[in-house]
């Protein structure tokens, strides 16, 4: 059996076909083969969350999936979420509230926070600070102490909730 495989997948809306080593992780594939270096490599064993990205609509650890497993999948990285404007308000809130310093965790943090905010939208709810903390518990930040990150996510949750209420009235 071959150690290399041909895969075809969608990355940030574009069709991609590549030959990859079976052992290559998804995060190494998007960084090294596709040049999408917004997803970061931290611990490489699922603890730090720096490589958080979306596969088929849900967040995963890019270091705990193989690129070959994503044959036929829809992958979205921070580049895709950023370019589409989907997380523009989150990014602005992170900047305004100093929710990043070195920025290493930020792409994963934004991607994880966005999933929580999407779930809140589906349930027409505003997540509590406790729920925000729980949802980003798998993303390490060594600069901020998390308070500013929770502040930023909470403020966007409230703004989006107000926007929903406004759209309904």
């Amino acid at each position: 059996m071959s150690m290399d495989m041909d895969i075809t997948l969608t990355v940030n809306g574009e069709a991609v076909s590549e030959r990859v080593e079976a052992r290559k992780t998804l995060v190494d594939f998007v960084r090294e083969d596709l040049g999408l270096t917004g997803s970061h490599v931290g611990c490489e064993h699922g603890v730090c969350g720096a490589c958080t990205m979306r596969v088929d609509g849900v967040i995963v650890r890019g270091c705990l999936m193989l690129a070959v497993q994503c044959d036929g999948a829809v992958v979205e990285t921070i580049e895709g979420l950023s370019d589409s404007g989907e997380v523009a308000d989150l990014q602005a809130a992170f900047e305004q509230r100093n929710a990043l310093q070195c920025g290493y965790c930020t792409p994963g943090m934004l991607t994880a926070a966005q999933e929580l905010l999407q779930q809140a939208q589906a349930n027409n709810a505003v997540p509590s600070r406790e729920e925000i903390r729980e949802h980003i518990s798998g993303n390490y930040c060594r600069c901020t102490g998390y308070h500013a990150i929770v502040d930023a996510v909470e403020s966007v949750a409230q703004e989006r909730s107000k926007a929903r209420a406004g759209a309904q009235s």
Partner: protein, 279 residues
């Protein structure tokens, strides 16, 4: 680190996976991969072949058949977390779910993978033991069921044979007299437990019977504290704590003495949960 080289094969049927395992004794099954991938990255394991079972149909799903809940091996944690059937008929699993890893891990990780991997500090093996559940496995000789009491053999060691695949777990469906409790202590939410406790019991008038206490993070497998079970059934929480006869080892997280102390703390918390009337 990066994994050592291996070949990869995505299979579409159980028989295909079982045959491949027979031809490659060094192969490993890839389900959710949330433990396996970490061990590959750290080169704690270096199989020559990964057999990806995620494409096998019919291996996921949660169903109630009379007084049994059957959970397919490929059911992901997030599915169990959001399942009304689990919330109503397997409340211990529902209690444990938020403690398992983080959201991104629960999106990929599978219930079958956790039980097959049998990490001694993981939540689900202890839940299975507390509930006296069963594991269904399929191998070259066909299907068989394994009682939990016969399943956990040692550190990461189970009764599954080299060519057997865990296909489902089966749990007794909860009814109005079922009581459950779950608690764990970890340094960070979602990390492996320093000590954890999963428990089930039956309401018996104002007391409890059939108490099953399954500790994790205190030995090579999930462990029952049978003397404490008897004391708790007698209604004496202090005696149950005093009767704890666990013998944990020091590990990277805590000393044996700290673990023993925390086991008692958790028993008091879980005893309170067991005494509550539950919906």
């Amino acid at each position: 680190m990066k994994p050592a080289p291996f070949a990869y094969k995505k299979v579409r049927a159980l028989d295909e996976a079982i045959a491949l395992m027979g031809e490659n004794l060094d192969a490993r099954l890839l389900a959710g991969g949330q433990s396996l991938m970490a061990t590959l990255n750290m080169r704690l394991s270096a199989p020559n072949l990964l057999i990806d079972i995620n494409g096998i149909g019919g291996l996921d799903g949660i169903a109630r058949n009379g007084d049994t809940i059957e959970i397919g091996a490929l059911t992901r944690h997030v599915q169990a977390e959001r399942s009304d059937t689990i919330a109503r008929y397997a409340p211990l699993i529902a209690r444990a779910m938020p403690f398992i890893g983080h959201a991104a891990i629960r999106n990929r990780g599978t219930l079958g993978g956790s039980i097959a991997f049998a990490d001694p500090a993981a939540e689900l093996p202890a839940c299975l033991l507390a509930l006296d559940g069963e594991v269904t496995a399929q191998g070259p000789k066909g299907k068989r069921s394994i009682r939990t009491s016969d399943y956990f053999k040692g550190l990461y060691e189970t009764a599954l044979g080299p060519q057997e695949i865990l296909t489902a777990i089966r749990l007794p469906a909860a009814d109005g007299n079922t009581r459950t409790g779950f608690a764990e202590l970890a340094r960070r939410h979602g990390d492996y437990a320093i000590v954890g406790l999963a428990a089930s019991a039956r309401a018996d008038g104002k007391g409890l019977k059939d108490v099953r206490l399954a500790y994790f993070g205190v030995g090579n497998t999930p462990l029952r504290a049978t003397k404490s079970e008897a004391a708790l059934a007698g209604g004496d929480v202090d005696a149950a704590v005093a009767a704890l006869d666990l013998d944990p080892h020091d590990d990277i997280q805590a000393s044996a003495a700290v673990k023993k102390h925390l086991a008692g703390v958790l028993l008091r918390r879980v005893a309170a949960q067991l005494m509550e009337r539950q919906p």
